[in-house]
């Protein structure tokens, strides 16, 4: 690959995730320097830029949707990024947060803030600043169109590198045996 004249703008975010996928992204280690010949970061926890530029090329989304703010951020990414990539189990099928989905939300809030042992004068938080939780946790492809997926919990640095370099080279991303993992 020859260094391009114009770098691709890449935005990243973690929704209902644990930041494990972002940590794994950093696991591409010194290859980050190579990557930075081709891309520049826009909105991302790595830059602390708060909103996407309208001309982002790639958006990388970790985590599923567990509250209204997650949906809002996801829509901002879809609106401003040409290509969206779902990274990790939570973005792809809801992951661990979605394991609450068979329980009614009220039952969960009751148990967490009122009835579990050791709580005194518990109260369900109702500050208007707090985003409202969704009834169920959803994978992101159920709300906006997602162009590519990198499965794994988290995907390895090598899997992330493979998909990104495939995309930068204009190839359809493919993870063979050893890189393809759901766990």
């Amino acid at each position: 690959m020859n260094a391009p004249t114009k770098k691709l703008k890449v935005a990243t975010t973690s929704l209902a995730g644990c930041f494990g996928c972002h940590m794994s992204f950093l696991d591409i280690d010194e290859r980050l320097f190579t990557l930075l010949d081709y891309i520049e970061f826009d909105r991302s926890p790595l830059t602390d830029i708060k909103h996407c530029s309208p001309d982002c090329d790639i958006g990388i989304i970790e985590g599923g949707l567990c509250n209204a703010e997650n949906v809002h951020v996801l829509r901002e990414f879809r609106k401003n990024c040409k290509v969206l990539i779902a990274i990790g189990a939570c973005a792809i099928n809801g992951g661990l947060p979605a394991q609450r989905n068979h329980l009614p939300l009220t039952t969960i809030l009751e148990e967490v803030y009122h009835t579990s042992p050791g709580l005194a004068n518990g109260m369900i938080p109702n500050d208007p600043e707090l985003p409202l939780p969704l009834d169920k946790v959803h994978p992101i492809h159920e709300v906006v169109k997602i162009d590519y997926f990198i499965p794994g919990c988290p995907p390895s640095g090598d899997a992330i590198w493979k998909v990104l370099t495939d995309l930068l080279a204009g190839r359809e991303p493919e993870l063979g045996h050893g890189l393809m993992h759901y766990d």
């Binding site: 779902a86 189990a89 792809i92 099928n93 809801g94 992951g95 661990l96 979605a98 394991q99 989905n101 068979h102 169920k136 959803h138 994978p139 492809h141 159920e142 997602i146 590519y148 997926f149 990198i150 499965p151 919990c153 991303p173 493919e174 993870l175 045996h177 393809m180 993992h181 759901y182 766990d183």
Partner: protein, 236 residues
């Protein structure tokens, strides 16, 4: 001289009465499958083993091999359909692989890897399926059941116990335990049963043995499922 048919351009011999998947397996040709198991009568329900025979789709685990038939299996078209079936199996249940004891040993997961399934594609059902932890030795996690009926066949045909059954029809089909209480503890099921060892996914799990082999060092971490075709043990 034995008779032959052609699969993906390869000539495969077969004996009278063999199914396509039996003959293919014996010849080292992998055909994805979930409800087929060489030790049991075919069930023909998952359709993962679908192939085209002389241009028409059929389940290779139930279709007998015939001399001169031309079979297509590993084609982009058929694999795309197999992938869609696999995606449906994922969204119909609750498959959270990172917290599943079967991860790495699971045939559903390994088949999805083989088919290059990067996402479940469809909307998730997130069904509510409580687990059965009543039995002292075995946990049943119905969230991952793909209704392959292997445990039903094993318990009925090998163990002679009839512990499991598929109940309901269509989308409401589900696995039940044949006891008045519906609980595994109220059956004569034991860890020595064949049925305790046939589940291709993570439903029938031995208690207190979790994660004895670390994730990353399990069966399909070491080799893809297509590489596990064992002509000696699987071909009949």
């Amino acid at each position: 001289m034995s008779q032959t048919f052609i699969i993906d351009g390869k000539t495969v011999p077969f004996e009278e009465g063999q199914t396509i998947i039996q003959a293919a397996t014996k010849a080292g040709v992998f055909i994805p499958h979930l409800c087929y198991h060489p030790d049991f009568k075919p069930h023909g329900s998952c359709k993962l083993c679908t192939v085209k025979v002389n241009g028409r789709q059929t389940a290779s685990c139930t279709m007998r091999a015939m001399a001169g038939m031309v079979v297509e299996s590993d084609t982009e078209e058929i694999n795309a359909e197999r992938r869609a079936l696999t995606q449906m199996l994922f969204v119909e249940g609750n498959h959270f692989c990172p917290s599943c004891e079967q991860s790495g040993n699971c045939q559903l997961q390994a088949t999805a890897y083989h088919l290059g399934m990067m996402s479940p594609h469809y909307d998730h059902f997130f069904p509510n399926r409580p687990v059965d932890a009543s039995h002292p030795e075995v946990l049943l996690d119905f969230n991952r059941c793909i209704l392959c009926s292997l445990c039903v066949r094993a318990s009925r045909d090998v163990d002679g116990k009839n512990v499991f059954a598929l109940s309901g029809r269509g989308i409401t089909t589900h696995l039940i335990v044949n006891a008045k209480s519906g609980q595994l503890a109220d059956t004569n099921f034991t860890l020595d049963d064949k049925a305790a060892h046939v589940c291709p996914v993570g439903v029938i799990l031995r208690k207190r043995k979790g994660f004895a082999v670390p994730i990353g060092e399990r069966t399909y971490d070491k080799q893809p499922i297509s590489g596990t075709v064992d002509a000696v043990t699987e071909g009949h």
